[in-house]
C-alpha cells in the first residue's frame, strides 16, 4: 500500500505546482526539471521556475483501455500540452467531452486526484488540464 510514497513525496513540488527549471545561459525551460542544460552543459546556469499552467493542446488521444486506477474515468483524454513557456508535458485533460477536444485549443492546469492507492493508501494529487473557458 505504501509503495512509491517516497517518490510521490519527492515529486510534490512538480506535481502540485509545476515547478521546473530554467537555464539562465540560453533561456531554455525544462519540465520535468533538469539539473544540467543540454545546450550549455557545464557553463549553464540552472534556476527553479514555476510554470503558469497555461498552454495549448499539442496532441491528444482518447484512452479506452485505462491504466490501473483510472478505470472509472474511461474513456478519458491524455494530452501532450505545450506550455506557454515552451516545454511539452503529458497530462490528463478533464471535464470535457471527447468531441470538444482539438489540437491547438487552450488549456490550463487544475489540481486533481491523480491516483488513489486503494482504500487505505495515500491519495496522490497533482496537475491535470482542462479546456480554458
Amino acid at each position: 500500500m505504501s509503495k512509491g510514497v517516497a517518490v510521490h513525496w519527492r515529486l510534490i513540488p512538480q506535481r502540485y505546482n509545476l515547478i521546473g527549471t530554467e537555464c539562465k545561459g540560453c533561456g531554455q525551460k525544462f519540465f520535468p526539471p533538469r539539473q544540467l542544460c543540454p545546450n550549455c552543459r557545464r557553463s549553464g546556469n540552472i534556476t527553479e521556475i514555476t510554470f503558469s499552467g497555461e498552454g495549448k493542446i499539442y496532441s491528444y488521444t482518447l484512452i479506452h483501455v485505462p491504466s490501473e486506477g483510472l478505470g472509472f474515468m474511461k474513456p478519458y483524454a491524455i494530452g501532450i500540452i505545450r506550455l506557454d513557456e515552451g516545454p511539452l508535458l503529458t497530462a490528463q485533460i478533464v471535464d470535457c467531452k471527447p468531441e470538444d477536444l482539438a489540437i491547438g485549443k487552450r488549456v490550463n492546469s487544475v489540481f486533481r486526484k491523480v491516483i488513489v492507492d486503494g482504500d487505505s493508501g495515500i491519495i496522490r494529487y497533482g496537475y491535470k488540464f482542462k479546456l480554458t473557458e
Binding site: 502540485y16 485505462p66 472509472f72 487544475v110 486526484k113 491523480v114 488513489v116 486503494g118 494529487y125 473557458e133
Partner: protein, 351 residues
C-alpha cells in the same frame, strides 16, 4: 487597527443534477420539492475531485485576487465535514499547492457547515494580534446525501477561501459574534457513510434559533438595525430557510436575494455562507455593509459585520462566482450515482 478581507476565491465543480432527475428516480413530486425547498439543481464533483482539490482551487483564486506573496501567509485553516483523510490534514495539501509552505501553521477545522467561518474568526485573531501577517481561511465540502433522503436534493460541493489581513483590505470585518449550544440536529458517527438528522428538529430549535440569535446579538452590540445593512447573507441549507430568517429579522427581500445561491448550486455545506458572501462581494461597492451569518449543526452560528472598501472596486475578482455557476454540464442520475460512489458493490478507490 483594521482587520478584514485582502482577497477571496471560489470554486464549484462543473457537473450538475436537476431536482427533476432525482425526483424521477425516487418517485417524488419535483414541483413540490422545488417549491418547498426552493432548489433547482446542485453541483456534483467529478470523479477526481474532493474537498482538498476544491480547497486548493479556491485558495489559489484567493491568493491571485489578493496579489500577495503566498510565503507571507502565516496560517491556513480548512473547514469541512468531508476531509479526504481522517488522519492527515487537508490544510497541509493546500499549503503545499499554494506555495505557502513551510513557514506557517496549518490545521483542519470541523463544525458541520460553519467550520469555514470558524476558520475566519481564528485567522482574524492571529492577524489582529500580529502573530501573523496573513491568514487563509477556507470552507469546502463534497457533502453526501443518502439516496432517497430529502437531503439528496440539496447536498452539493464547492468552496470559498478568504485571505485575512490588516492592509489593502477589499472589505473590513468590523465585528464577529457567535452563538453556540449543544443541539443534536444533524450528525455523523465514525465509519458511517451518510449523516443522520433529527428531521423536523433541524428547523426551529436548530437553524432558525442560532442564526437569528447570532444576527440579533451582533446587531445589538453594535447598535445597528436591518436598515443599516445593504445585504444579508446566511447559511443556506435550501433556498427557503434564509428567506424566512430575513423576513423575521426585518430585512427586505432584495437584501437577501443577492447572496442566495443554493437554489442554483445546492447546499455546499462549509462553502455555503462563504460562497454567498463572494457573490455579494463580486459586485459590491465602497461603503456597503453586509451582515453574514453561518450555521453549523450541533449547533452554532458565527455572525460578521463586513464593510466594503474602495479597494474592492479597484481590484474586482477576475474569477467571479457567476462564471462558475454558468459553466455546467448536466448528469443523469446513473452517472451522478457513479460520480458520488453510490452504486452498490462499486468502490471508487478500486477501479
Amino acid at each position: 487597527m483594521d482587520v478584514g478581507i485582502v482577497g477571496y476565491g471560489v470554486y464549484l465543480p462543473k457537473y450538475r443534477i436537476k431536482v427533476e432527475e432525482i425526483a424521477r428516480v425516487w418517485g417524488d413530486n419535483a414541483e413540490n420539492i422545488k417549491k418547498s425547498l426552493i432548489i433547482h439543481e446542485k453541483t456534483v464533483p467529478s470523479l477526481d475531485e474532493d474537498t482538498a482539490t476544491i480547497a486548493v482551487e479556491c485558495a489559489r483564486n484567493a491568493i491571485n485576487h489578493s496579489q500577495i506573496d503566498p510565503q507571507n501567509i502565516g496560517a491556513i485553516y480548512v473547514g469541512s465535514e468531508s476531509h479526504p483523510y481522517i488522519v492527515k490534514s487537508t490544510a497541509t495539501i493546500v499549503a503545499a499547492a499554494t506555495s505557502a509552505a513551510p513557514d506557517l501553521t496549518a490545521a483542519d477545522y470541523e463544525f458541520a457547515c460553519k467550520a469555514g467561518t470558524a476558520a475566519i474568526q481564528a485567522t482574524m485573531g492571529l492577524v489582529k494580534s500580529k502573530m501573523i501577517r496573513y491568514g487563509l481561511a477556507i470552507g469546502a465540502d463534497t457533502s453526501q446525501g443518502k439516496p432517497g433522503d430529502i437531503l439528496e436534493y440539496t447536498a452539493s460541493s464547492g468552496g470559498g477561501a478568504y485571505l485575512i489581513g490588516r492592509e489593502n483590505l477589499i472589505a473590513k470585518i468590523l465585528d464577529t459574534y457567535s452563538y453556540t449550544t449543544d443541539t443534536p440536529d444533524f450528525w455523523r458517527r465514525e465509519n458511517q457513510e451518510f449523516p443522520s438528522h433529527g428531521s423536523r428538529f433541524t428547523g426551529q430549535p436548530a437553524y432558525f434559533k442560532h442564526v437569528i440569535a447570532a444576527a440579533k446579538g451582533i446587531m445589538k452590540r453594535n447598535d445597528l438595525t436591518s436598515d443599516d445593512f445593504d445585504y444579508i447573507v446566511l447559511h443556506q441549507p435550501n433556498g427557503k430557510f434564509p428567506l424566512k430568517v430575513a423576513k423575521i429579522l426585518d430585512f427586505d427581500k432584495e437584501k437577501i436575494e443577492k447572496g442566495l445561491i443554493t437554489p442554483y448550486i445546492g447546499n455546499t455545506y462549509s462553502g455555503a455562507t462563504l460562497l454567498g458572501l463572494a457573490q455579494i462581494l463580486d459586485e459590491a461597492v465602497a461603503g456597503e455593509k453586509i451582515l453574514a451569518v453561518s450555521y453549523g449543526s450541533g449547533a452554532g452560528s458565527d455572525a460578521f459585520i463586513i464593510e466594503v472598501t474602495e479597494e474592492n472596486e479597484k481590484k474586482r475578482n477576475k474569477k467571479p462566482l457567476k462564471d462558475y455557476i454558468n459553466q455546467k454540464e448536466y448528469l443523469d442520475y446513473a452517472l451522478y450515482a457513479k460520480f458520488k460512489g453510490k452504486i452498490k458493490g462499486v468502490n471508487l478507490e478500486r477501479p
